[in-house]
Symmetry: C2
Subunit: 141 residues, 2 copies
């Protein structure tokens, strides 16, 4: 097994490369790449429940709890009780959080274009198609 041929190795390193790239782009907002993407989801729609945010971000609750702790400490989000279902909480953007979330969305969109600029249009289409196939149909275990 040579690493060049190992798709698990290649995906790990490509993920790390892309994540480092985005991290540098959003470091000007004092955010990690994951925090920036969570704020991006909230920029699209906030006041959703933690469970719903977890579904959209595809993160389990153990991971999301910690991320929300740090966003809350930074003053970007707040947890509010949900009268409709007292098990759940709604995640609200603060005034400052809303501004940062909009900036994060803009930076992420720009970073996407820049990161992929070395690929041809056909390669970009192929990449999205391949990832879509893998995420939908790759065997699970």
């Amino acid at each position: 097994m040579q690493e060049t041929d190992c798709i698990f190795f290649q995906f790990a390193k490509t993920y790390q490369l892309s994540s480092r790239f985005l991290s540098q782009k959003v470091s000007e907002l004092n955010l990690t790449s994951v925090q920036a993407m969570i704020l991006g989801f909230l920029d699209a729609e906030d006041q959703i429940t933690s469970s719903e945010l977890g579904k959209r971000a595809e993160l389990d609750s153990a991971t999301l709890t910690g991320i929300l702790d740090r966003l809350e400490t930074a003053g970007f989000t707040e947890r509010k009780g949900n009268p409709d279902d007292r098990r759940s909480i709604r995640i609200h953007l603060t005034k400052k959080g809303r501004e940062i979330a909009r900036e994060a969305s803009r930076v992420i969109a720009e970073a996407n274009k820049e990161f992929l600029q070395v690929l041809s249009e056909e390669q970009k289409r192929n990449l999205h198609s391949i990832i879509s196939t893998l995420r939908l149909s790759a065997p699970r275990g």
Copy 2:
């Protein structure tokens, strides 16, 4: 920014999917996916220095130290002093480690085929080509 279009999100989730898949395959050896790949590198060539192993696995020394600690605790590897350069250490596979490393290499190779079986041959070629381009040429920051 919709998550479907965000390459950082897609790479993160594809990496996590592939990593979970490999983790399940190597769990029968009581290894994590990363530990299995490190043993795979040592199966190809052991008694290399920690620095050399880090270069091949593209891991920094802080991460590698912890992984080697756990492989050593499990009885698969040993650190030996390197008389040629007393700053460095050589990583040796134990007898048990050599057997597990061979098994790990086999499982990884099989898992590669199985994970990618939903892709056409052309898609596999395109995927490797795209990843290669990104890893060589994507902007760094």
